[in-house]
Symmetry: C2
């Protein structure tokens, strides 16, 4: 049975989602990140949509885009609709597999903080799966809980310096070459050094992109690593690393675990949230 009319052509859902994300986030590039595609794909979607509409949704500026009047007027409707759709999908997935809890987090937090806590939760009957995302914003509709280091008041994630255990390490004077740094955490060393009373200290050692890797290096004796304590706790507890100076600095970050959607009081996500908090 073929469709009689050439093609009724219902609204291009994918393109609409691209529009919604781009409008809400204020650009094609962040939208692409959220959707998990390249910016070129978003460009193409918007082009299609505007063409089929016969009207522009964004003004193109050389440095970015801005919603047109029309775009701004209709965006909230789409945001609402997609939020409802996401919520419905979440509910469906939740009800389809009771006990399932998805936690959106970074790869580092998943490996270093969440992973050690999973066995206990699994034994309690929860099927916890970490969903790796780049930022809290990208978690939209993908998970029940979010776990991130966020800029925030609490001093719950202090910076500490860690190194391999052994008598020598802790006693050495600070050597700029005997350091390990994390990419994207440029200020951490400065903050810690200031707290340690050496404001002018500049690390010169290798920079790692992954906290897990940097910790591994540190455990192998490659240098002194400044890192948020929650990420190092497991290794400290195992004795693979030590905190030779015992100096903690404010990181300005808090380890936050919070619901990404409304949770039914006794649902699996709510229970896991309570268990981890």
């Amino acid at each position: 049975m073929a469709a009689q009319p050439p093609r009724p052509k219902l609204p291009p859902l994918t393109a609409l989602r691209a529009f919604e994300a781009a409008g809400r986030l204020g650009g094609f590039t962040p939208a692409a990140r959220e959707l998990g595609v390249t910016p070129a794909a978003v460009t193409a979607h918007l082009k299609t949509l505007e063409q089929s509409l016969g009207a522009a949704l964004f003004e193109r500026h050389p440095r970015g885009v801005a919603l047109t009047d029309l775009g701004a007027r209709v965006l909230p409707d789409f945001t609402r609709a997609f939020r409802q759709l996401d919520a419905a999908m979440q509910r469906l997935e939740g009800e389809a597999t009771p006990g399932l809890v998805r936690i959106a987090t970074t790869a580092d937090l998943a490996q270093l903080w969440l992973s050690p806590r999973l066995p206990r939760l699994r034994r309690a009957g929860f099927q916890v799966i970490p969903v790796p995302v780049e930022s809290p914003g990208a978690a939209r509709g993908l998970a029940d809980l979010g776990l991130f280091l966020l800029p925030g008041a609490g001093a719950e994630a202090p910076l500490i310096a860690v190194s391999a255990p052994g008598p020598a390490a802790g006693l050495m004077a600070l050597d700029p070459a005997f350091t390990l740094s994390l990419a994207g955490a440029a200020g951490d060393w400065a903050r810690w050094a200031a707290a340690a009373g050496i404001p002018a200290f500049r690390p010169r050692g290798p920079v790692h992109g992954s906290a897990a890797l940097a910790l591994e290096e540190a455990a192998n004796g490659a240098g002194l690593l400044v890192i948020a304590r929650p990420l190092a706790e497991a290794a400290l507890a195992q004795g693979r690393l030590i905190d030779p100076y015992g100096i903690a600095a404010e990181s300005g970050l808090t380890l936050a675990l919070w619901p990404l959607r409304d949770l039914a009081p006794d649902s699996a996500p709510a229970q896991v949230l309570a268990a981890l908090a």
Copy 2:
């Protein structure tokens, strides 16, 4: 810039839409009709969806399908969400091209009833486009107004018999071979003949699938055609056809024109509705 994780995999929107339609309409086949695809496509979507979910949404019975408990529980959420999405899309299209009015109707009504009325509306600044659909249900989200012959109380669409003008035609006794019938309107001749006082009359002439074609044939003198008056009015007004017997029978159908969504009071669709009613 490639997406880091293999693929965050947002919900398969097309499959969700198939689920929603199938759930709401109570079967895969009607859903396929509404979506303008074959039933096999709907089957495949549901299979994908249920597989990725790890749970069944429909119980398969040999004669059809029924929502499972889970499916029934979540369906309303999806219906609501998609309705909102459709509404947003409608609003977007409406605002993008002011003056645009889409009327969902059958090919016959579009050609025979709507088409003659379009020039006046076009001159009034409305861009009216008929959207051909098979049934009112399939119009969901595709148009602003619906125009159909519906089973209904009013006698607004009586059946009449028409033929080519000329002295002989009207005077002839009824000849079963000198008839034209419409496919899908099996009872029409019987009703009209009953009203004419010839209850046992059975037409034997050719059967046409399209009212427009049948009217054309009748105008060419091929026979007597029983048809709902609204469809023949234009040809009668032009003198291309006559109503030789002057006998009208109840068709049980009413020509209905109604809004398929909420219309803003002074919007183009509302004005066109008022002008046509």
